[in-house]
């Protein structure tokens, strides 16, 4: 797919760099993108992905090197560039008070699309995006997925030669994500070039070529298959129930550069292409034989970026930190319903979660996941039904319950103007911890989540990954019996996400029940059981294997995504609960 001749080089960057004051955000970027490619840029938070996109869109001037986009210099001929591209920035870029139709028309008019073209393209785009029935709705009432699709439409209406998409599917549910990609492929096939950034490995997989960006520099540019090949022979997995012990062994082995604690197995990566050392193999043997596994893009990424900070966290003993005797059933919900006027947000949902269990809650945007969690946290009163949290009835003892639960929202609700230690002290105080208890709790939680040595740092200056860990620390300092995580990993890069899940597993081992909602289907592998919500109902609950086997026809090898889509698109989506 590499560009063949000069004509087809849509993007050509040489030594491109950008600094903000004394901070060098990007340096020495050499990049060429050819016509008709879907080109992905992958990298952790703060790697410079957005800066690079803005340089390509000619809305930011480079401080070093030069870049030609569609044959025009982005510095001197920036208006030629902006006339010809589509650029979708991170976050939402719609006008909330305008309707779908109005947003689209505005976008067309400022780009000089003729009325005839507009009418014809509008029809096609709305149909592709599945927005035909929503043309007159205001953008602010759309779900996250619909908003993204509309954003994409507003950037396709002038059929640009080059489409730049920053964090295309941030906060988008899997169903919408599939539709977004279908649209991208259609336009790619008609000759459009697409450059996108993404934190999703499976999305990166679908790109024609990928660039790994790390700390402002390009580590590698290649096809996904070639990149994965670089980690071949370095990835192993151990299937066992005693994962905690595996973790301890691996953490003590210097050759292991990364580990992934999944629900039923441990996947790890070594820095040696010759294979696993004999001594490590021996140590692991009695827990389960390590077998070679297919590397994925994350492994390739780890391979390229591995350094001490990314190694496994040192084990902190959780035994001393066990939560107060948790009742065996942590959450018992019976027929919970929430109605807002005529609209039913949660419809007769019943389930139980045991202590020490990690349960993933999946579902499209607007399925009712967040509302359900708000009910269980006491933030929303249910219209019907009842629940017991940590053995206490929700209806009558909400204050006692609040002392026994932890809650972390997708917004990482912290005080940005307070320092790390001030946030910790404050939230400890909110749970009534004082004096020695508070000092002990903070001393316990800091190494656990890995925020040692950051005490004086202002929270607003932390990266997304660190804010995420700090938010988790604030939610668990009082050793809750039940922990609610509402999309805790959105907007966080893959390495940080992996590390975060490791933490979650350890907390669960100590007896904490954990209910987590997520849009990253690959994260389902970390959960003991999965709940699937759709149209306000719980349509399935069980282990991944159980969900697979309940499908007609049953498919033991089906990916999480396939299982998910199968349940969602099943005509009788309201069918009974498995498991």
């Amino acid at each position: 797919m590499a560009p063949q001749d000069h004509e087809d080089r849509i993007i050509k960057a040489q030594g491109l760099g950008r600094r903000f004051g004394r901070h060098e955000a990007l340096a020495g970027i050499d990049l060429q993108v050819g016509r008709g490619e879907i080109f992905g840029i992958l990298g952790p938070d703060g790697a410079g992905k957005t800066t690079l996109m803005q340089l390509l869109a000619a809305i930011l001037d480079p401080t070093a090197g030069q870049c030609r986009v569609l044959g025009f210099d982005t510095l001197r001929e920036s208006s030629q560039v902006t006339d010809r591209i589509g650029y979708m920035s991170q976050g939402f870029t719609l006008y909330d008070r305008l309707s779908v139709e109005e947003n689209l028309a505005f976008s067309a008019r400022i780009r000089g699309v003729s009325d005839a073209d507009y009418r014809q393209r509008r029809q096609r785009l709305l149909q592709m995006a599945g927005l035909q029935d929503a043309v007159n709705r205001e953008a602010r009432v759309l779900s996250g997925g619909m908003r993204k699709k509309l954003s994409l439409c507003t950037n396709l209406i002038h059929e640009p030669e080059l489409l730049l998409l920053d964090e295309l599917s941030l906060g988008v549910d899997p169903v919408s994500r599939q539709e977004l990609w279908k649209m991208l492929r259609t336009f790619r096939d008609s000759g459009m070039t697409i450059v996108l950034t993404t934190p999703y490995m499976d999305e990166a997989q679908a790109c024609d070529r990928l660039a790994f960006l790390y700390r402002g520099r390009l580590l590698a540019v290649d096809s996904p298959a070639a990149l994965k090949d670089r980690a071949r022979g370095r990835v192993y997995e151990v299937v066992t129930a005693r994962l905690e012990e595996v973790q301890e062994i691996l953490a003590a082995s210097p050759e292991v550069i990364s580990g992934q604690w999944l629900a039923d197995r441990y996947r790890f990566q070594i820095d040696n292409a010759q294979g696993i050392s004999g001594s490590l193999r021996m140590k692991l043997e009695y827990l389960g034989a390590p077998s070679p596994a297919m590397p994925d893009l994350e492994n390739a990424f780890v391979q390229l970026t591995a350094q001490p900070a990314d190694r496994l966290a040192t084990t902190v003993s959780l035994r001393s930190a066990a939560t107060p005797a948790a009742p065996a059933t942590a959450i018992a919900a019976t027929d919970i319903s929430v109605r807002f006027g005529d609209f039913s947000a949660v419809n007769q949902v019943s389930f139980r979660i045991a202590a020490g269990e990690v349960v993933g809650w999946l579902g499209p945007n607007g399925a009712g996941k967040t509302t359900l969690i708000r009910v269980l946290c006491g933030l929303q009163r249910p219209s019907a039904g009842e629940a017991r949290i940590a053995g206490l009835p929700l209806a009558s003892s909400s204050t006692q319950i609040k002392a026994r639960i932890g809650y972390m929202s997708q917004r990482f609700s912290l005080y940005p103007d307070l320092s790390v230690i001030e946030n910790l002290r404050f939230f400890a105080g909110m749970y009534g911890l004082s004096g020695q208890h508070r000092r002990d709790a903070i001393r316990w939680v800091k190494p656990l989540v890995g925020i040692d040595g950051l005490d004086g740092n202002r929270t607003q200056a932390l990266s997304g990954a660190l804010r995420q860990r700090l938010a988790l620390a604030c939610a668990i300092m009082h050793r809750p019996s039940v922990l609610f995580l509402d999309e805790p990993t959105s907007g966080v890069d893959p390495l940080a996400r992996r590390r975060f899940w490791q933490l979650i597993q350890r907390l669960a081992r100590s007896g904490m029940a954990i209910l987590v909602t997520t849009h990253y289907l690959e994260e389902a592998c970390y959960c003991h059981r999965l709940g699937l919500m759709h149209n306000s109902r719980l349509v399935a609950l069980g282990t991944l294997a159980e969900l697979r086997s309940a499908l007609q026809p049953s498919d033991p090898g089906a990916s999480v995504e396939a299982v998910f889509m199968a349940y969602i698109t099943r005509p009788s989506a309201a069918a009974g609960v498995v498991g």
Binding site: I59, S79, T82, Y87, T93, Y95, F106, I110, G112
Partner: protein, 365 residues
Amino acid sequence: MNARRIRAVIGKETREILRDPITLGVALLMPLVMLFLFGYAISLDLRRASLGVLDEDHSPASRALIEHFSANESFHLSRSLGSVREIEQVLQRGQVDLVLVVPAGLNDSLLRREQPQVQVVVDGTYSTTALLAAGYAEALVASFGTKPSRATLRLETRVWYNPSLRSVNYIVPGLYAVILLAFPPLLTALGVVREKETGTIQCIFASPLTSSEFIFGKLVPYSLIALLQMLIVVSFGYFWFGVPFQGSFLFLLAAGLVYVLCTVGIGLLVSTLTRTQLTAMLLALIVTLMPSFLFSGLLFPIFTMPALLQLYAAIFPGVYFVEISRGIVLKGTGIDMVWFQVAVLALYTLAVFILASRRLKKKVA
């Protein structure tokens, strides 16, 4: 400049404003609230100031003098005092604004044609009230039973433009300038900074729309709102408060248009200097709202300020339009009289726009 693109921005902006009830409500209601408060509350006519009376004479003359006071609607007899000590008491507690002390023997000395004295004790804490009360009381006493006497000089006063010296007549035209400086910049600044905060401006940057088209597109709807505000205030001033209109309405409208462009331009300039709505609001407050009230000549004449602060006042466009609008409304002034102020406004507007479009580059940093 591409008319179609500008039209698109105007249409989008108009819809957004029309669908935001709070912004629209504040934009249209606030000028009216201000007009009514200013129109009714600011006046230099004293109404029912509470008066205490200490009558030590108890004579026909003293009763007549007291009657002379209480018959006047400026005062309202709220208390009769028994002793001198009580004066201190009622003034301390703020129960009366002033006390009229009629000394014993007033009647007698009047009969003896001795020109006796009466004392008026005024609470000086609220300076404005005190000043008015003292003046009114002085005049009332002086006019009591006066025989016309020969003066060495006679003054014949002719008040032009506002012969009745009604406060409303000069407050309302001045208010046009204040309201148009207080709100349009704030609304405009918030309108642009909101796009910065939500990120929609990045899409504008990465499109063929030029900065001047963007600014022009923002300018039109906010100027229309400002003009609407002006029409509301002018018509309420004319029909409700009965403020006379001497000059040409079209000229006021034309000058108003220049002024509105100027103030909206200031709002755009503020928006290019700030990143968040809070700072935009604060900056707008400092550069438009405060000066529009205090340094526009609406309430406090500029000529009486120290020289340095007169210069400070001249920085803001409000002073010029106060002159223009009072001139047109009350004096029937034409362009020949206020060409200087109009020219300053026009230049001001031009400068603001050049600065704003220079500042707004289609770049994120």
